[in-house]
Symmetry: C2
Subunit: 409 residues, 2 copies
């Protein structure tokens, strides 16, 4: 059995939720139930079911695709060839592409090359029409919308947050600019360590109604209440990845545009991209939508978003997002280059790799890898046992490289 | 201001949720929030917003429409003519059709004549693509599916409930046949009086996660747990409208078919009817779907269901439901004729009126009125202040009669 962080877990095949019988039966037997109250949503192996069924566990708002026909993908299947592709992970282990998918607890993967589907596979509980949790990939959707609103002069990223949200005076964001928030350049007294029960990430989730509250709970009862409690620590101007920044950014967008996050996604992405299915966003107990991690989308619609970014904002015969916005993100020409060689811009990870790739990343293995120089987009959903956005990288990054080189050849 | 049950309420126009500002703003101001925790979902005037936004307040499961094109409705608009139609309500008050809609707190109404849309209007928070709560109209969907499963020999309505659900031995349903359950002919120690806080209907809602539980709650924690607690009172064989029967019926369907209620709706109705939008069903804390009142659908898809029933199970070029099932319901040829002249069959109300109409009815004014002899279907959603399935009848029934006569002429 694979081991992560000193604990053993069922492997990708053995943890298949249909084999294990999670949430099967009418009603599901007590020992096979995944419940919000029982706090089992993110537990392993339950997570292998729940990430494809989030709306059955918490409230959600629809992202409507509109009435148009879905945009069409041509298919040029290279399944056998890709499955057999050999990868050497960063530990030196040699494995096949299809084994790498199991080893990273993949729920679904779709590979586009020159806009054609060359590979599409589903595992576990995921089906083509089912939205899967994006977790922090949500941030890249939100950041793209924010950058588009800046390009439209609806927002000004040089303004400080209280210009848009006066109620955040006196908080960490009092003197943070919208740009600093978008690029995670803020100093916040807030910790985000999933493995620690006392970490602020869980206070934040409890406030948002993403985690059950214990009897006698007297903490914040909504996302905005929680954001208003966060104080400054250190200085702004240095990269620190903290999800609450994205919620502040999404709050600014909603306040200024008069449209909710779901409506902005619908207007600016779902409808013009010609998405196949509706998506949805988690709603907090006060009716606010979570911009940092609340989105669930289907694998194909996830790929549509990636293909639009690869094509400098064009898809479905339309300039969906201004090309200048996409170029700014892809350029990597930003002050903050991080220790691992990445930079971070408008809620996207810029790899500076041989394909000029950018990435959207979410915990448990959510990934959108957009590689212009290989004319490739890889959309992947997963339900890895660990709540990390880099878990699996030692397999996933060599996998992306091998695939990009094969397709570019 | 109109008065119901000795209390005054804002009228249909004044209670428009967009005018009142419910759930507007980011976040909505505290005094304009509708929250599950605050138990304001069914309060008036909040209900005028919430019935079009149920999934934003509780967990839900998707009813997928599939990938086909929506079935097409021809249009032959008679809006002006219908708006001006004169109605005399049962109190002798004379009013126009459009005023009658306001007086019954209508959120949306669609009238089909010979399968063409002759009238379609939306009010308040409802939009064409938004699913609205069906409440007990859900029962008629579920009853139609159950009757179809009987026609397919998957279920046998002469069997007693424990034949399918052994865990209900020792409960009220131990010696009730599936047919008695389908026709609400059971003697249950269970009350359903919405106006009484101590009525069992609220215990049932709390068990199902449709109503908040107070601190220290120690009642049943799921739908099936609650159903297992209900004991017999009196004898089976007499009509008494009790929602929990429908949940038992839906539980039988799910157990025997191996498909959830949402999947059955998808397989047997949404996909073959060519519905325009996905629908959704409320999910209880144990993952069970509520067959008695948990469905939310768009107005047009609601009308599609009615038109299929009018056409003896045919729509979209397909025999969607066996004609024998629809004829059995429409015939009214059943032993139990009720005091008001109605009979009740397979979760449908049979009017025995001049059009041979059958009805699906839900609290707060949900109604599907199917009138074969006027070649008419009226689909209506409403958010009336009172939780009654007959409230508004003194206006609505003369309205249906006037409309049917006009269209038949």
């Amino acid at each position: 059995m694979p081991e992560f962080g000193g604990r053993q877990y069922l492997d990708g095949r053995a943890s298949d939720p249909s084999k294990l019988g999670w949430m099967r039966g009418a009603p599901p037997p007590a020992d096979k139930r995944i419940t919000f109250e029982g706090d089992s949503i993110l537990a392993f192996p339950q997570i292998r079911w729940s990430l494809s069924h989030m709306r059955e566990l918490t409230p959600s708002v629809n992202v409507w695709r509109g009435r148009g026909a879905p945009s069409h993908f041509e298919r040029y299947e290279r399944t056998t060839e890709i499955d057999a592709l050999t990868i050497t992970d960063t530990d030196g282990r040699i494995l096949r592409f299809d084994q790498a998918l199991l080893d990273t607890y993949t729920d679904g993967i779709l590979v586009l090359h020159r806009g054609q589907i060359v590979y599409e596979r589903y595992f576990g509980a995921l089906e083509p029409h089912l939205p899967h949790a994006c977790h922090s990939v949500t941030k890249s959707y939100a950041g793209t919308l924010a950058a588009a609103l800046i390009a439209d002069d609806v927002l000004d990223d040089r303004k400080t947050i209280p210009h848009y949200l006066p109620e955040l005076r006196g908080t960490a964001w009092e003197d943070a600019t919208l740009r600093q928030v978008m690029d995670m350049q803020t100093g916040l007294a807030y910790t985000e360590v999933y493995g620690e029960e006392e970490s602020d990430i869980w206070k934040y989730h409890r406030a948002c109604g993403r985690r059950p509250r214990l009897a006698g709970y007297d903490g914040p009862r909504s996302l905005c209440d929680y954001l208003g409690m966060i104080r400054k620590e250190g200085e702004h101007g240095t990269f620190e990845y903290k999800s609450v920044n994205t919620d502040v950014m999404a709050w600014v967008m909603a306040r200024v545009s008069g449209r909710t996050f779901a409506q902005l996604l619908q207007d600016r992405l779902w409808s013009p991209l010609g998405c196949e299915e509706d998506a949805y966003v988690h709603v907090d107990p006060a009716g606010m939508q979570m911009g940092a991690g609340g989105l669930c989308v289907t694998l194909r619609d996830f790929a549509r978003f990636g293909e639009m970014m690869r094509c400098e904002g064009m898809l479905n015969g339309k300039q969906v997002i201004p090309a200048s916005v996409v170029r700014d993100i892809q350029s990597g020409d930003h002050p903050a280059k991080l220790d691992d060689g990445y930079s971070y811009r408008s809620q996207w990870w810029v790899t500076h790799d041989e394909f000029g790739a950018i990435e959207a990343r979410g915990i448990h293995g959510q990934r959108l890898y957009i590689a212009p120089d290989a004319e490739m987009v890889v959309a992947r959903f997963a339900s890895h046992p660990l709540a990390s956005a880099v878990i699996g990288d030692k397999i996933t990054m060599p996998q992306m490289t091998a695939l990009g080189r094969m397709l570019r050849a």
